[in-house]
Structure formats: structure tokens, C-alpha cells
């Protein structure tokens, strides 16, 4: 089945889902308002964005240098580092480590990187039980669903749906209030934190200068996941490295405000290797490529690696606001998803995502690192057409034809006249409300079109000049 059909089908399902529509509107409206409030007081917001862009540009252009610095520092702290080329490499390494240490259960914090490689499925297949500890992730793990937003994975679920889910899966009665839902999860998760032999997280930033892994959160599950179990594994995309500790002064001001509209998250963890208070605690850093070096090699697309996964672009995207995260078909939704999915996967798999955009540019405006997302969507569209993904012969013929006609003004004028005449055949009461085929049919499925005029501007100009 072609991707177009999937995306059109999935978005259709999303648009018909009234509950989802309500949830999306509430969530995105709230995020947008909170972000707006949070950045109003930051008069140097624009300067911060530009600085962040420059730091990321510099780092990505010297990624090998900073990664090696990071690794040396982490090892200096007593941490172990593993370079993983593919998602399978990551999963196999973690499973091997887990088996060696007799790990039976793993507590996980929310990590898009681990979702990307389906770590949980790999663990389960090896007889190791992963437990998501971020409340939103815990919910979708119970529901066996994919996340619908980068930072708020379960926004598509209502309180009622969650209560039903908990009642069914946890079998401790049906919680009625939000506080009861949270308390139920907390009790379950507390036991899991205390008994898990391993904690797996991602990282928001990895500081090369100091060998520090930086994690932001509001629930405290990262604190528990990284400090209680004996082994902490951080799966970190290679693009997450930043040069110096001081650079956090830019990124930590941008990330929470852009993501949740908070001035600062409830907890910020700075982890330098394994927990020193205990002798037998381990820290493992797994640096993941999984297609990132491919993006790195493409000068036009390299900027997509600057993303700090805040989710701001999702919230302001008119397409995301209507179809939600699951319609994108993988785990990265919204504008950033439309840019990195075809690259981390392939144009064959998700080459249609870049076309499902009106190119309004709101994403770039909201991006705290000023990533030129619209430009990258356009570049991917060009790549898709070069590679003839989707084989749209009639579209290609139409574009070729239009381009030819547009280089021959008299032909252009004549074709226009003909098309307008043709269009008038479908007009009634100065409107076209339906047509049997082609773009006119697609258009009139939802909207009217004014009946074409008898004379074009160029014809009128010519007449008036006589």
C-alpha cells in the first residue's frame, strides 16, 4: 500500500474522531498560550534562538570532535560508552548487558530515541520487562499505542478513556479523578522503581566539555530511574551533544518555555557518570547513529539535526492540530517528523509526509533553534520527485506541460482561455460546485470555485490599450 493512501486514510480517521479533535484542540491551544506567556518576559528571546542555532550549527559541523571529547570525559567519570550504528545494535547491546547482570525488569523514562528503535519490543522479546514511568508513556504502554506528541504522548486520551484503561489493565477499580489516576500509577510505579535492576533514559543534552548527561522532567521519574537501579543506560542520538556547560544557559532557557511553557521544569538532572555514593553502580552511554550520519552528510538537510525535541512546531502546525501524531505513521509527528522520518526511514516509507503541509512557516517561527523547516520540507519534496517516489505520471506530465506553456506566452494565453471556457461548462450561478475529474473535482469536494471570467487581465489590458 502506498504511503499516500496510508496518510490520507489515517488523517481521515483522525478528522472523523471527535474525541481526538477535542483533545488536540485543547492540548495545542494550551501549549501555544503557555509558550506565549513564557516567552513574553524574555526580551532577548530572538537573540537566544539565534545563539542556539549557531551553537548547534557549530557542533554539528564538528560532531566527531565533540563526540570524542564527550566519550573521553564520560569514561573518565567511570562510565562505559558504546557506539551503536543501528537501532538493532543499541537493542542488542542493552539486552546483552541486561542478561549479563541478571536484569529482569527495566524502568524507562520517556525517550523518543528508544521509541525510534522499538527498544521495548526487543526487551520483551528477550524476556525482560520494560516499564514506562512517564505517566503519559505509562498510559500508552498500557494501551499498546504509539505516542501522539513528542512531549505529551497521551494527549489523545481523555480522562475517561484513561480511567477505563486503568480499570481494565490494573484491575484495582476504576479511578474517578485525575488525582486518583495519578495516585494509582504512582503506587504501581514506585514498586517498579524499587525492584528494577536497570533504568533506561534518553538525554536532552550531552555536554562534551564535562561529560555530563542533562535530563529535564516534571514528574521525578527520571530522578528515580537514574538513581535507584544499579545500572543506568542512556540512549543518546549523536546529535544531542553540545560543546560546553555554559551552552546550557541558552538551551535550558529555550527548551522548557518552548515545550511546556514552563520557565523551568521541576527537575533538571546533571549526571556525571555512575552514582558515586555507591561502589557497584554503573553508567552506560549508548551513542546512537541510526541514520543520523546520513543526514549529517547532506549539507542541505543537516539542519534537521539541530532539533532539541521540544514539540513547539507540532503545537503551531495547522496540519498537526487537525490530524494528531499517530496519523504521521511513525513516532516523530508534526513538521519535525515530516522532515526527519523520510530521512531516518526512507523516502519510500514516509516520502509523502513532506507534502502534507501548507508550507505556512509557523513551525519555523516557533522553533527555539530557528530550524528552517519549510526549506527542508521543500528540499525533501524535490528529492521525492527526483527519485520519482509515488510515480505520479499525470502530475509530472501536467507540470512539464505547464512549464512548457509558461515559456510561450501566446500559448499560455490561449491555454488559459481554453481552460476558462472549459471551466465555465461546469459553472452554475457563477460558481463551480462540482466537477467529474481532476484537481477541479478534488477542489469542489469541499469548496466552491468562482466561475472563470470571460476575459483575462491580459485581454482586458490589450483592449484598453487600443
Amino acid at each position: 500500500m502506498s504511503v499516500t493512501l496510508d496518510l490520507t486514510q489515517r488523517s481521515h480517521a483522525a478528522l472523523e474522531n471527535d474525541v481526538l479533535q477535542g483533545a488536540l484542540k485543547r492540548a495545542t491551544d494550551t501549549f501555544i498560550e503557555k509558550r506565549r506567556e513564557a516567552i513574553t518576559s524574555v526580551t532577548e528571546w530572538e537573540a537566544l534562538r539565534q545563539r542556539a542555532h549557531l551553537v548547534k550549527e557549530h557542533t554539528i559541523n564538528h560532531l566527531d570532535y565533540y563526540l570524542e571529547q564527550l566519550v573521553a570525559k564520560v569514561e573518565g567519570h567511570g562510565g562505559k560508552v558504546f557506539w551503536a550504528r543501528t537501532g538493532d545494535d543499541v537493542n542488542n547491546h542493552i539486552i546483552e548487558l541486561a542478561k549479563k547482570r541478571g536484569v529482569k525488569s527495566v524502568v524507562k523514562s520517556k525517550s523518543m530515541a528508544t521509541e525510534e528503535i522499538e527498544l521495548n519490543h526487543a526487551l520483551e522479546a528477550s524476556g525482560i520487562r520494560p516499564i514506562e514511568t512517564d505517566l503519559g508513556e505509562y498510559i500508552i504502554q498500557l494501551a499498546d499505542e504509539k505516542p501522539t506528541h513528542i512531549i505529551a504522548p497521551a494527549i489523545h486520551k481523555t480522562r475517561e478513556q484513561i480511567a477505563d484503561l486503568f480499570a481494565e489493565k490494573l484491575r484495582e477499580g476504576r479511578p474517578r479523578e485525575v488525582a486518583e489516576i495519578t495516585a494509582m500509577a504512582r503506587k504501581r510505579l514506585r514498586n517498579e522503581f524499587l525492584s528494577a535492576e536497570m533504568g533506561i533514559t534518553g538525554a536532552n543534552f550531552a555536554i562534551a566539555e564535562t561529560g555530563t548527561i542533562v535530563l529535564v522532567e516534571n514528574e521525578g521519574n527520571i530522578r528515580l530511574s537514574t538513581q535507584v537501579p544499579k545500572i543506568h543506560v542512556a540512549v543518546v542520538g549523536i546529535e544531542k551533544v553540545i560543546p560546553r556547560f555554559d551552552d546550557l544557559s541558552v538551551f535550558l532557557r529555550l527548551l522548557p518555555r518552548s515545550g511546556t511553557g514552563q520557565k523551568q521544569t521541576a527537575y533538571v538532572s546533571f549526571l556525571n557518570g555512575p552514582r558515586k555514593a555507591k561502589d557497584d553502580f554503573e553508567f552506560h552511554l549508548v551513542l546512537m547513529d541510526n541514520g543520523r550520519t546520513r543526514i549529517l552528510a547532506d549539507e542541505q538537510m543537516r539542519e534537521s539535526l539541530y532539533c532539541i525535541r521540544c514539540g513547539a512546531c507540532l503545537n503551531v502546525c495547522p496540519v498537526y492540530q487537525k490530524i494528531g501524531g499517530q496519523a504521521y505513521g511513525w513516532i516523530y509527528p508534526g513538521p519535525i517528523g515530516a522532515v526527519i522520518s523520510p530521512q531516518l526511514q526512507s523516502l519510500d516509507q514516509s516520502g509523502d509526509l513532506p507534502f502534507a503541509s501548507s508550507l505556512c512557516g509557523a513551525c519555523r517561527q516557533a522553533c527555539p533553534v530557528d530550524i528552517n523547516l519549510p526549506d527542508m520540507l521543500l528540499a525533501l519534496r524535490a528529492k521525492a520527485k527526483e527519485a520519482d517516489i509515488g510515480r505520479k505520471l499525470s502530475e509530472r506530465a501536467a507540470m512539464r506541460g505547464f512549464s512548457f506553456v509558461a515559456r510561450h506566452p501566446k500559448l499560455f494565453a490561449a491555454s488559459g482561455k481554453f481552460l476558462r471556457f472549459f471551466g465555465r461548462l461546469f459553472s452554475k450561478d457563477e460558481r463551480i460546485q462540482s466537477a467529474p475529474f481532476g484537481p477541479l473535482r478534488d477542489w469542489t469536494q469541499y469548496r466552491d470555485l468562482p466561475a472563470p471570467r470571460g476575459r483575462s487581465f491580459r485581454e482586458r489590458w490589450k483592449e484598453n490599450s487600443k
Binding site: S358, A362, R381, S403, A406
Partner: protein, 243 residues
């Protein structure tokens, strides 16, 4: 002051009255207006859909048409078409051999202005002598706003129209859902976005929604017509020509 019209293929073929209104107002302001009928289309549709070779061919034609027109400025009734030439043409001529083309493009692009931008920034005029008793709301077209940074000029021009009441709708800078071929490739999503815009327009209480881009207006008008709304669309040029 002599200007050359970049009429845009959409206005030329589908909304010629917008072009006529533009000419009327410019002449009223004492500007000499020329129109080179060798012009056709800037190539935005091909570029946005990923057909860069086809877009480049159209861009080359465009540059040839406009580079020798002896006009002080080239004026267009569209933010997206203006942005295509000023901001995106360079993407099509990135080769080391394209240095000459880049210069030629710059010669044209540096003289190109969107209609409201031309009147306010170049002529220094806000009151064009128009009168139109009505309640009007203004839609910020995406490329006009985010690619060209134009949002104040149209509002100043609209406020100066006599007996007109400019009402801001909620979030006027949100997309109408057109997006070129997106509107037909992903019609259902495009329409869902459009419905949000229509709701904001209705809630504003305006009788007219004005914008600087015929593409947005076509999308919005198409939706208003389909739901039988009394609200009408109007291009800024048409509004400014009202007396």
C-alpha cells in the same frame, strides 16, 4: 515613478478585476503603470510540488521578461508570488555556473514589491483616497507575513479607508489551509484547517475578509460560498479602489 506589473497567473486568469483595481489605484497615486504580456507564471506551483527543473525553466523566462522593463519597481498583488521570486529563486540557481543568473535574478528581485509594501514603503502613502463603509477583517497570508515580514502595511492602508471599521479576528496569522497543491492532494485536511479559519471570520462579525493573496481568498471564498455564508472576500487592491 514607473512600475511594471507582475500580475501573477492566478490574477491574470481567474481574478482579473484584482489586477484592474491595482492599476486604478496606482494611477490614482500618480504612478505610471506598464504591463509586459510576455509574462506568464513565476513557477511557484512547480517549485512547491518538488519539480525544480520545471520551476527553473519558468524562473528563467520570468527573469528575461522583467529584467529589461525600465521600471523603477515591479509590483505584484501577491505575497506568495513575491516571496517566490525574492526568497526562493536563488534555490534554483545554486550551481557555481549560475553566477550570471544569480545577478540577473537579483536585478529583478531587488525591484520587486508586493502591492501594499509598494504603496506604504516606496510611495510613503497610507491614505489612497478610498471609501467603503463596511466591517472588515484582515487575513495575514502566510508567505506575505513570514517570508516577507509584511503585516503592518496592509492594516495601515485598510484603516485609512473612510467609513471602514477594521476588526481583528482571533489569530489572523493562522493558515487558511490552501498551501498550493496541498489543497487538492490533501483536500480533507486543507478543508479542516479552512473550517477553523471560517469560524474565526464568522466570530469576528465582519462583513468582508480582506487579504493580499488571491490564493488564500480563493480558498476562503470557496469555503464561505459552500456553507452559504453572507461574508464576502475582497482583495486589498479591490478595497483600495473603492470610492
Amino acid at each position: 515613478m514607473r512600475v511594471s506589473l507582475f500580475i501573477t497567473c492566478l490574477v491574470d486568469q481567474m481574478f482579473p478585476e484584482v489586477g484592474e483595481a491595482m492599476v486604478t489605484t496606482l494611477r490614482r497615486l500618480g504612478v505610471e503603470v506598464g504591463f509586459n504580456d510576455a509574462q506568464t507564471c513565476c513557477g511557484q506551483v512547480a517549485f512547491n510540488t518538488g519539480y525544480r527543473p520545471e520551476a527553473r525553466a519558468m524562473a528563467e523566462h520570468f527573469v528575461k521578461v522583467f529584467e529589461d522593463d525600465n521600471a523603477d519597481f515591479i509590483v505584484a498583488p501577491s505575497g506568495s508570488c513575491t516571496a517566490m521570486v525574492r526568497n526562493f529563486y536563488r534555490e534554483l540557481f545554486q550551481d557555481s555556473n549560475d553566477e550570471q543568473w544569480r545577478q540577473r535574478i537579483n536585478g529583478v528581485g531587488s525591484r520587486l514589491r508586493e502591492f501594499s509594501e509598494f504603496i506604504v514603503n516606496e510611495l510613503g502613502v497610507e491614505d489612497v483616497g478610498a471609501r467603503f463603509p463596511s466591517r472588515v477583517t484582515y487575513h495575514d497570508a502566510c508567505h506575505l507575513l513570514r517570508e516577507l515580514g509584511i503585516s503592518e502595511q496592509p492594516r495601515r492602508l485598510i484603516r485609512a479607508v473612510r467609513d471602514l471599521d477594521l476588526i481583528e479576528m482571533e489569530a489572523p496569522d493562522t493558515c487558511c489551509g490552501f498551501g498550493g497543491t496541498f489543497s487538492v492532494k490533501y483536500g480533507e485536511i486543507s478543508n479542516a484547517i479552512l473550517q477553523e479559519k471560517l469560524a474565526r471570520i464568522e466570530n469576528s462579525g465582519a462583513e468582508y475578509v480582506v487579504a493580499n493573496d488571491s490564493s488564500c481568498l480563493m480558498q476562503i471564498a470557496g469555503g464561505l460560498s459552500r456553507v452559504g455564508s453572507q461574508v464576502k472576500t475582497m482583495h486589498l487592491a479591490e478595497l483600495l479602489a473603492k470610492q
